[in-house]
């Protein structure tokens, strides 16, 4: 079974290496946010001391966990796009006719996507460092397990989407409906209390957003603290998304049965 996982990871990795544009854009996107957006916001937004920060922080420091989340969110959607592509191209069939258990095959896909997203995150953090945006050394290590969890969660969301989307063309629309609300209605750009100042409703929606919890889990880990509730939420969301996508890919019940022709 492990052989199979490694092979799937290997395939995803070599596909990723082949797509230099994807790698580049996955790094340029957060860097632009960090250097352009954050610089402008720095003066506009006052941040008070809040957990996990012990002192006043600059906005650039605040936004980094959100951008890490964004890297993983985009990567999760990208992997799901490649799943839909795989299905149109037929290689999904190859995967699904393997005698390995289906949940294991799909989990392997998720692990492969997560590994790639983590690579992107570390390259992003390395690029941010020369601009003075650094964190406790151990923090870089501490985020690793959280990144695996958040990567799996966002990947599972992509998997779920891929089981419901039957055509590549429909994908762009869905991406916009998922990525943007998920990113903006979260604690990635502003803390939730700041959002509550303008609208309690928005704050409440954001507090329900699993992406918020993934970002918070990363934020705390980066500063060597553990936010168990955020981790719990992220884990629960992962299990929910994965279970739902297993249903979607179930040959008897799922949507694949109605779609695959």
């Amino acid at each position: 079974m492990l052989v199979c996982t490694l092979a799937i990871m290997n395939r995803e990795a070599s596909r990723f290496v082949g797509q230099r544009g994807r790698f580049l854009s996955s790094l340029v996107r957060p860097m632009v946010w960090l250097l352009v957006f954050a610089a402008g916001f720095r003066s506009a937004l006052g941040l008070s001391i809040q957990e996990p920060y012990q002192t006043y922080i600059t906005y650039e420091i605040y936004i980094v966990p959100g951008l890490i989340g964004m890297v993983q969110l985009f990567n999760g959607m990208q992997s799901s796009l490649s799943l839909v592509y795989d299905r149109e191209m037929g290689s999904m069939r190859l995967l699904l006719t393997s005698p390995m258990p289906r949940w294991w095959l799909l989990l392997s896909k998720l692990l492969a996507g997560t590994a790639i997203s983590i690579l992107q995150v570390y390259v992003f953090l390395a690029l941010a460092a020369p601009f003075g945006i650094t964190f406790p050394v151990l923090g870089y290590l501490a985020i690793l397990p959280v990144l695996i969890l958040s990567g799996l969660m966002l990947g599972a969301l992509g998997l779920l989407l891929s089981s419901t989307i039957d055509q590549l063309e429909n994908f762009a629309g869905v991406m916009n409906f998922v990525i943007f609300p998920m990113f903006f209605l979260s604690s990635a750009l502003y803390p939730l209390w700041k959002m509550a100042e303008s609208s309690a409703l928005l704050r409440n929606i954001s507090a329900m957003n699993p992406f918020t919890h993934a970002v918070e889990a990363i934020r705390f880990a980066l500063h060597l603290q553990v936010n168990w509730s955020a981790i719990g939420w992220t884990l629960a969301a992962f299990l929910l998304f994965f279970a739902a996508s297993m249903f979607g890919y179930d040959p008897a019940k799922g949507l694949v049965a109605r779609k695959a022709r």
Binding site: M1, V3, C4, L6, A7, I8, N10, R11, S14, R15, G18, M89, G90, S91, R93, L94, L95, L96, T97, S98, P99, M100, P101, L105, P251, A252, G254, V256, A257, R258, A260, R261
Partner: protein, 274 residues
């Protein structure tokens, strides 16, 4: 054409194994055998019925041509046979395993060549083989040996490092067939495998798979809409509008007519009754 059929020793081992577990002889006609058996299979896409009460079986070592015009339900049948989706009514037995109850054992006994190419263009020939082997649970030396043999047979050992993109359509198809055989399946399913190939490549591939059935004891289900891919001694199942119109030896079914005429007559007869 290359000598695809000059098979080295190791290819014959599965045949010996299958003989040892062959149920047909010991349990008589009622047993499931090691071939393929489809019983009373129906499937609908919503209100549209794609297959209704399809039953047929293929004996081990038989080459069965599943002939049907476009839209007959061949691809639906293949999706059901490969467990891509399941149907509420009917049974499928693959090499004696019930696909619904023991899907993993059944799938392990299947080699599948899909109508759509499923090779990764950006990967090399060897990488593609290796990926498939791993999906089938083959690893390490065993996988290396099997891949080596397959490439040897294809006479592509020297091109193993090339990207699939660089191969022509015929080579890609033959590679897919060889790949489907890597895990030594008992049954090989091919869904219109010659689509888009030129005549001589088409003939070579058809002949190659016929030979595999004859010399290796491989059970083959070959879906096509082209009558010239069917040989007289093949089992012929004609599928039209989701039902079986004929099932028998090709030579018997066609009688004095040529197969093309017989096929048209059998599928036309179906149209009138509807």
């Amino acid at each position: 054409m290359t000598t695809l059929h000059s098979l080295p020793g190791p290819y014959r081992f599965p045949e010996l194994d299958l003989n040892m577990i062959d149920l047909t002889d010991k349990q008589g006609a009622m047993s499931l055998g090691t071939g393929l058996m489809v019983e009373d299979l129906s499937h609908s896409y919503g209100a549209r019925k794609a297959l209704s009460n399809v039953s047929f079986s293929v004996e081990r070592g038989c080459f069965c041509a599943l002939l049907g015009p476009n839209g007959a339900g061949k691809s639906t049948l293949f999706s059901l046979l490969t467990g891509l989706f399941t149907s509420k009514s009917g049974d499928i037995h693959v090499a004696g395993f019930d696909l619904a109850k023991k899907p993993r054992s059944a799938l392990a006994a299947l080699g599948v060549v899909f109508q759509q190419p499923t090779l990764d263009m950006h990967l090399s020939v060897h990488q593609n083989m290796r990926y498939y082997a791993a999906l089938q649970g083959l690893s390490g030396k065993h996988a290396t040996r099997r891949i080596g043999e397959a490439l040897e047979q294809l006479e592509m050992a020297d091109r193993a490092g090339e990207k699939v993109r660089a191969l022509n359509g015929g080579h890609r198809r033959r590679m897919e067939i060889a790949r489907a055989m890597l895990h030594e399946p008992a049954i090989l399913l091919l869904d219109e495998p010659t689509v888009g190939l030129d005549t001589s490549t088409r003939q070579a591939i058809t002949a190659h798979v016929h030979k595999l059935a004859r010399s290796e004891g491989l059970t083959v289900l070959w879906a096509t809409h082209l009558v010239d891919e069917v040989e007289d001694e093949d089992q012929l199942v004609i599928l039209h509008k989701g039902t079986i119109r004929a099932d028998g030896t090709a030579a018997t079914l066609r009688g004095a007519r040529n197969l093309g005429e017989a096929f048209l007559a059998l599928t036309a007869a179906g149209n009138e009754t509807e």
